[in-house]
C-alpha cells in the first residue's frame, strides 16, 4: 500500500471541487452571492482568517501547535490602539504591535524548547495569559480611536482588489515559497516528520522551533492589524473563536496534526470552504450560534473521518457492538 507524497494533490482537488460546488449552490440559492459586492466582502472578511491559517499551517507542519493565534491577533491590535491613544507616533506603534506578536511567539518557543513543554498545553496557557493582558489593557472596552492614515488603508484598492487582501496574498505566496522551495521549509517538514532524525541529520531543531513560533506570532499580529483596519476598531473579544475555526480549516486542508505534512494552499482552500459555508448560512438566515456547533462537528469529522467511516460501516454491518 503506497501513498504518494504531495498527493496532497488529491485533497486539494477534492477541496477545490467542494468549493466550486458550494459556490454554485449558494449562487443558485441566493442571487446576490456572486455579486461583486458580496464577493469582495467575502474576500475581505476572510483576510484575517487566512492569515491565521497560514501561521498555524507553518507551526503544524513543523510538528508544533499554536493556540495563541487569535489571542496574539487581539494583542497586536490592542497594543496598536492603546499606544496610539497614549500618543506615540504611527511608525512606532506599528512596529511595537508587530513586535508584540513576535515576542509572544518567542515566549512560546522558549517554553517549548527550553522547558521542553508540550506545545498544546503551553499555548493553551500563554493564550490565557495573552487574553488576560488584552482584557487588562482594554478594560473590556472597544477602542475606536485609531490613526487616520491607518484607517485609510482599509480603503486602498489596487486594481479593484482591496490592499488588505493583497497583503494576505503576498503573505500566502511567501509562505508557500518558504515551505516548498527553500531549505528552511524542508527542515520544517523534517522536524515535523521526526524530530530526532532531523537533529541527527544536522538540522538545528531548537532554532527552527523558535523561528516557527516567532513567524506564527508575527503573522498573527499582522492579521490583527488587518482586522483592525477592516472593522475600524479594536474589540477585546477579537479572535476568540479563531483557534477552533482556523485549526479546523487547516486540518481540512490536509495538514496533519502530527506534523510533517501539509500545505498553505490546502489550508487556504480549507478556509475558503469553511467561510463559504458560514457565509452561506448567513445568507440563508441561519442562527449564528449554529455556526459554532457546526464547526465543532466538522472539526471532529475532519480529523476522524477515516475512522468514522470505518466505524459506521462496521456498525451497520454487524449490528450493536459486542462488549469492549
Amino acid at each position: 500500500m503506497q501513498r504518494v507524497r504531495s498527493g496532497n494533490w488529491r485533497v486539494l482537488i477534492v477541496l477545490g471541487a467542494v468549493n466550486v460546488v458550494i459556490m454554485g449552490l449558494l449562487t443558485a440559492l441566493s442571487p446576490t452571492f456572486l455579486s461583486y459586492g458580496n464577493l469582495s466582502a467575502v474576500m475581505l472578511r476572510m483576510s484575517e482568517l487566512a492569515m491565521l491559517a497560514i501561521a498555524e499551517t507553518i507551526v503544524l507542519i513543523a510538528g508544533g501547535f499554536d493556540l495563541t493565534i487569535g489571542a496574539v491577533m487581539a494583542l497586536s491590535a490592542t497594543v496598536f490602539g492603546t499606544l496610539h491613544v497614549a500618543g506615540l507616533p504611527f511608525p512606532a506603534i506599528l512596529a511595537l504591535a508587530l513586535l508584540a506578536g513576535i515576542a509572544v511567539g518567542l515566549l512560546n518557543g522558549f517554553l517549548v524548547v527550553a522547558l521542553r513543554l508540550q506545545p498544546f498545553i503551553v499555548t493553551l496557557a500563554t493564550m490565557s495569559i495573552v487574553r488576560s493582558v488584552v482584557y487588562g489593557l482594554l478594560k473590556g472596552n472597544v477602542l475606536s480611536q485609531l490613526p487616520e492614515r491607518f484607517l485609510d488603508l482599509g480603503y486602498v484598492w489596487v486594481l479593484k482588489i482591496p490592499l488588505l487582501f493583497l497583503v494576505v496574498v503576498s503573505t500566502a505566496v511567501l509562505a508557500i515559497v518558504l515551505l516548498r522551495s527553500t531549505v528552511i521549509g524542508r527542515r520544517m517538514y523534517a522536524i515535523g516528520g521526526n524530530e530526532r532524525t532531523a537533529f541527527l541529520s544536522g538540522v538545528h531543531v531548537n532554532r527552527m522551533k523558535y523561528l516557527v513560533y516567532a513567524l506564527s506570532g508575527f503573522i498573527s499580529s499582522l492579521a490583527g492589524l488587518i482586522y483592525t483596519a477592516r472593522i475600524r476598531a479594536v474589540v477585546p473579544d477579537m479572535g476568540i473563536t479563531s483557534p477552533l475555526e482556523v485549526i479546523t480549516a487547516v486540518l481540512i486542508g490536509g495538514t496533519a496534526i502530527t506534523g510533517g505534512k501539509g500545505s498553505v494552499f490546502g489550508s487556504l482552500l480549507g478556509i475558503l470552504a469553511m467561510y463559504l459555508l458560514l457565509n452561506g448560512f448567513n445568507l440563508l438566515g441561519l442562527n449564528p450560534f449554529w455556526q459554532v456547533i457546526i464547526l465543532g462537528v466538522i472539526l471532529i469529522y475532519v480529523v476522524g473521518q477515516e475512522n468514522i467511516i470505518r466505524g459506521l460501516r462496521a456498525f451497520l454491518s454487524r449490528g450493536p457492538r459486542r462488549k469492549a
Binding site: L111, L115, R116, L117, Q118, F120, I121, V122, L124, A125, T126, M127, S128, I129, R131, S132, V133, Y135, G136, K139, G140, T241, L244, I247, I257, N287, F289, W290, Q291, V292, I293, L295, G296, V297, L299, I300, V303, G304, N307, I308, G311, K323, A324
Partner: protein, 312 residues
C-alpha cells in the same frame, strides 16, 4: 498491615508535600494582607470557589490519568445549569430539576467518552469540538439571555459549608476508588501503557467511557453548587473552568502525560486555585488577570513535572 492505611502513607509521598506547603503559606499571606479574609462571609465564598473548581478537577484528574483531557467541562457545567434551569422556568420542583441537571452532565460526558473511544481522534480535538458544540446549543436554546429569577431554595446547596461537604464526599469516594478498586488502579495502567492494559484484559474502552461520564456528572454537580448565590444563571457560566481544572490537576502533581498522579494532589491543587481566585476577587483585582495567573501556574507546574519525568 492493611492495604488502605499503608497506601495513605504512600500517597503522602514527596509529590503532595510541596503543594501543601504552598497552600499553608498562601492562607497565611492572604489572611495578613487582606483584611477580613477569614470573615464568615469570605470563608463561605472561598469554600464555594474551592468546592466548584475542586469537584470539576477531580473528574479531570481521572480523565488525565488515563492519558486524555476534557476541554468541555466548563461547557458541560453551563449546559447542565442553563438547560436544567429550563425546568425551573417550566415550574418543575427541585427534586426533579437537580437530577435532571445531573443527567444532562452524564449524557454530555458520556457523549465525549463515546466519541473519544469510537473515533480515533485525540481527546484534545474531540473535546475542543464538543466544547463549542455544547456552548453553541446553549446559546441557541437560551438565546443568549440570562435566566432569572432563581427561587431561593436553589441557594441552599451553595451556602455555608455544604459545598465543602460535597467536595469532601466526592474526594473521599474517589480516593477510595483510585486506591482500592481495580478500576482505579487500572486507570494508571491505561495512562501509563495502554497497549499493555489492553493485552492484560483491562476493559480500556469501557473505563475510558466511564471516566468521561464521571467528568460530565461532576461538572454538572459543580454547576449546581454555583447556581445559588448570584440569583441568575448565565450562558457564559463555567467559562475558563477547564483551565482552572487543568491547573489544579497539574499543580497537584498529576502528570499531564497520564499514568501518574492522584486525586488527593488535585484536591490540594484546587484548594490553591480556589484560594487564589477568591483572594483576587477580594483584592478587587480585575477578573481578567485570573487568566494570566492560571496560565503562569500551569506552565510552572508542567515545567516541574517535565523535569521530574526527565529524571526518570
Amino acid at each position: 498491615m492493611t492495604g488502605k492505611r499503608l497506601d495513605l502513607r504512600g500517597v503522602f509521598q514527596i509529590r503532595e508535600l510541596p503543594i501543601l506547603i504552598y497552600v499553608v503559606v498562601m492562607i497565611a499571606v492572604f489572611s495578613i494582607v487582606i483584611g477580613g479574609f477569614f470573615s464568615l462571609k469570605s470563608v463561605e465564598n472561598i469554600t464555594r470557589q474551592i468546592a466548584t473548581v475542586g469537584i470539576v478537577s477531580i473528574g479531570m484528574t481521572l480523565v488525565i490519568l488515563t492519558g486524555g483531557i476534557d476541554l468541555s467541562v466548563g461547557a458541560i457545567l453551563s449546559f447542565a445549569i442553563n438547560i436544567g434551569a429550563q425546568g425551573i422556568i417550566a415550574g418543575w420542583p427541585m427534586w426533579v430539576v437537580y437530577p435532571f441537571m445531573l443527567a444532562l452532565g452524564l449524557i454530555l460526558g458520556w457523549l465525549n467518552g463515546f466519541l473519544i473511544t469510537r473515533i480515533a481522534v485525540p481527546a484534545l480535538i474531540i473535546t475542543l469540538g464538543t466544547l463549542n458544540i455544547y456552548r453553541g446549543v446553549i446559546m441557541v436554546i437560551t438565546k443568549g439571555r440570562y435566566i432569572t429569577p432563581i427561587p431561593k431554595s436553589y441557594e441552599a446547596i451553595g451556602s455555608g459549608y455544604i459545598p465543602f461537604i460535597f467536595l469532601a464526599l466526592v474526594l473521599a469516594v474517589f480516593i477510595y476508588i483510585s486506591l482500592n478498586t481495580r478500576f482505579g488502579r487500572n486507570l494508571l495502567a491505561i495512562g501509563g501503557a495502554e497497549q499493555s492494559a489492553v493485552y492484560s484484559g483491562v476493559p480500556v474502552r469501557r473505563y475510558k467511557m466511564i471516566v468521561y461520564t464521571i467528568s460530565g456528572v461532576l461538572s454538572a454537580l459543580a454547576g449546581m453548587i454555583l447556581v445559588g448565590k448570584s440569583g441568575f444563571i448565565q450562558p457564559q457560566a463555567g467559562l475558563g473552568y477547564e483551565m482552572s481544572a487543568i491547573a489544579a490537576v497539574v499543580i497537584g502533581g498529576t502528570s499531564i502525560f497520564g499514568g501518574s498522579g492522584g486525586v488527593l494532589g488535585t484536591f490540594l491543587g484546587s484548594v490553591l486555585m480556589g484560594l487564589i481566585l477568591a483572594g483576587l476577587t477580594m483584592l478587587a483585582v480585575n477578573p481578567y488577570w485570573v487568566g494570566l495567573i492560571t496560565g503562569v501556574l500551569i506552565i510552572l507546574a508542567i515545567a516541574l513535572d517535565t523535569v521530574r519525568q526527565l529524571r526518570k
